[in-house]
């Protein structure tokens, strides 16, 4: 996937931009970051089979991008991710309503979404919890992916291998000494390589958060929420 054009440009701004290429890449990033969280919450809320949930999410995202719903997000009214979750939920509700109408022999072409009115929380704590859990996983996975790309480009495959074997592995993990033996490195080199990978991972994670946030305040809130720290 090509890098997002400007790492300090949020997807929300990019989605409403004039350049169709930038819009397309922003849409792709939103889809990659939010597909799993949307799947998780819609499947749970609407009691869907996994394949049906997948179809629904695909349809929602395609419609949202096509009709430029997401570009109408207003940061003053809440978080972008809450906006997206509630929008998808409304979309699913409308879809179900349309299906029922079809079954009764009515007109199916009534699916719509007043996205301007969906900003803010719908008050469903469990939906938010599920959505947030998957969102955190997506953010971390995107940051790891960026670290992988950077490591390849800068010829630091060993750094990445150490990071993967130590920080991403499940217990029991190897010791620094074992990692050093595996890669013909001294323990101090293992420490140094891991320090580089962790530092870069952190930078990428912050960058992903900044890109996905709907506003500077949302970015700061997300950093506090995910990292427990004040955004640098």
């Amino acid at each position: 996937m090509p890098a997002f054009p400007d790492t300090h440009l949020s997807v929300v701004q990019a989605l409403g931009g004039a350049d169709p290429d930038v819009r397309a890449r922003a849409a792709e990033l939103v889809a990659r970051a939010y597909r799993a969280p949307l799947l998780s919450v819609l499947q749970w809320r609407w009691n869907l089979e996994p394949a049906d949930a997948e179809d629904l999410v695909q349809e929602f995202l395609a419609t949202a991008f096509q009709k430029e719903w997401l570009a109408r997000f207003d940061p003053a009214r809440g978080r972008f991710r809450t906006f997206l979750r509630v929008a998808a939920d409304r979309f699913a509700a409308n879809q179900r309503q349309a299906e029922r109408r079809l079954k009764r022999g009515g007109d199916a072409a009534t699916v719509g979404l007043d996205v301007v009115t969906v900003a803010g929380s719908d008050g469903d704590a469990e939906a938010e919890r599920r959505f947030r859990e998957e969102w955190v996983r997506s953010v971390l996975a995107l940051a790891v992916e960026r670290l992988e790309t950077e490591s390849r480009e800068r010829g630091r495959a060993v750094h990445l291998a150490l990071f993967t074997a130590y920080d991403l592995a499940e217990e029991p993990r190897p010791t620094y000494r074992e990692l050093g033996l595996r890669h013909a490195l001294g323990e101090s080199q293992v420490i140094n390589h891991l320090a580089w990978a962790r530092r870069r991972f952190r930078a990428h994670a912050l960058d992903v958060l900044r890109t996905l946030a709907g506003s500077e305040q949302e970015y700061r809130d997300d950093v506090q929420d995910l990292l427990g720290i004040t955004a640098p």
Binding site: L140, A141, L168, F201, A205, G228
Partner: protein, 321 residues
């Protein structure tokens, strides 16, 4: 996208929550957490050695605690003494957290090590080393104000380190110590330490009454803290201390500052006198106690003389048969 397991996610989140220090330091694991910050075991990559890094806890970034942590680093840097941990470096992380790097101390906290000294003499030698460190700080114009067993580390060879100088302050104008003027440049005044919310800093049970009341603290407030440490060490031994030693403890713990030892050196002096079998200032002994102490102090020569006399007596008796 990468498939991340639960362990990987937890570890990545933990990595992200870590303070971002200069590249020189690679944080390894958390080794302690106090009222003001978190202490990490870290590697100094430049000098290739293990260090400890104390970092302000993120949720405490306000409330003037950043300045308190920075001040603690400056105090430690000034107190060059074997009983005070050496500071190597200090700064503010890119995410705004104040930190300082210091020697990695290995050992046990005194509250965990209390009662493990084989003899009363060992306990008192340990207590004396703690008090000598505090006396040195006073000489430098600094009072600790939060002395307690949890703030003392005992090394594998019995060496002691007095930790957590975050509540320390300068001795007031009457301190007269050579370092007092310097201390005033970097320390809080000698008024009782309080948070921005007006909470008195210190530890109940170890804090001198005047400090708990929000009144100015002086060296006698630290005498009280040392008395409280002595109290805990003696209690941990599980045996009633000799009356003279109990009197030393009680004088250090006197509720009125004027009834305590005037300074830590006087407290140390009494501890040493007790260990040497001499009369102590805190206790007026009876004639019987004086005889008992005299016998105890000279028990070896007295034993030798008695043994000699006994042998002589036996020889006389046998010679007479």
């Amino acid at each position: 996208m990468s498939s991340l397991g639960a362990g990987g996610i937890a570890r990545l989140r933990e990595q992200l929550a870590r303070p971002e220090l200069p590249e020189r330091y690679a944080l390894e694991s958390e080794i302690g957490r106090g009222g003001m910050g978190v202490v990490w075991r870290a590697t100094d990559r430049l000098l290739e050695r293990d260090v400890a890094v104390k970092v302000l806890a993120e949720h405490l970034a306000d409330d003037g605690l950043a300045e308190r942590l920075a001040r603690e680093a400056r105090i430690l840097a000034r107190l060059e003494h074997p009983g005070v941990v050496a500071v190597h470096d200090a700064g503010v992380s890119s995410d705004g957290r104040t930190w300082y790097a210091m020697r990695l101390v290995r050992g046990r906290r005194l509250d965990e090590a209390a009662g493990t000294q084989p003899t009363l003499g060992d306990t008192l030698r340990l207590m004396t080393r703690v008090a000598e460190t505090v006396a040195y700080a006073h000489e430098q114009g600094i009072i600790h104000r939060d002395l307690k067993p949890a703030n003392v580390m005992v090394g594998p060879f019995g060496e002691v380190l007095v930790l957590d100088w975050g509540v320390a302050g300068a001795i007031g104008g009457g301190g007269g110590a050579s370092g007092a003027k310097q201390a005033a440049d970097t320390q809080t005044p000698a008024t009782a330490p309080v948070t921005a919310h007006g909470t008195v800093l210190g530890t109940p049970g170890y804090m001198a009454p005047e400090q708990a009341a929000g009144l100015p603290a002086d060296v006698r407030s630290d005498v009280y803290g040392l008395g409280a440490i002595l109290r805990d060490l003696l209690a941990a031994r599980g045996e009633a201390p000799p009356r003279a030693l109990a009197a030393i403890r009680d004088r250090a713990l006197a509720p009125a500052a004027g009834e305590r030892y005037p300074d830590v050196l006087a407290f140390v002096d009494d501890l040493r006198r007790f260990q040497d079998g001499l009369p102590v200032a805190a206790h007026r002994e009876t004639v019987l106690e004086r005889i008992g102490r005299w016998i105890s102090r000279y028990r070896t020569p007295i034993g030798l003389v008695l043994a000699y006399l006994l042998v002589r007596l036996l020889i006389l008796r046998l010679g007479g048969v």
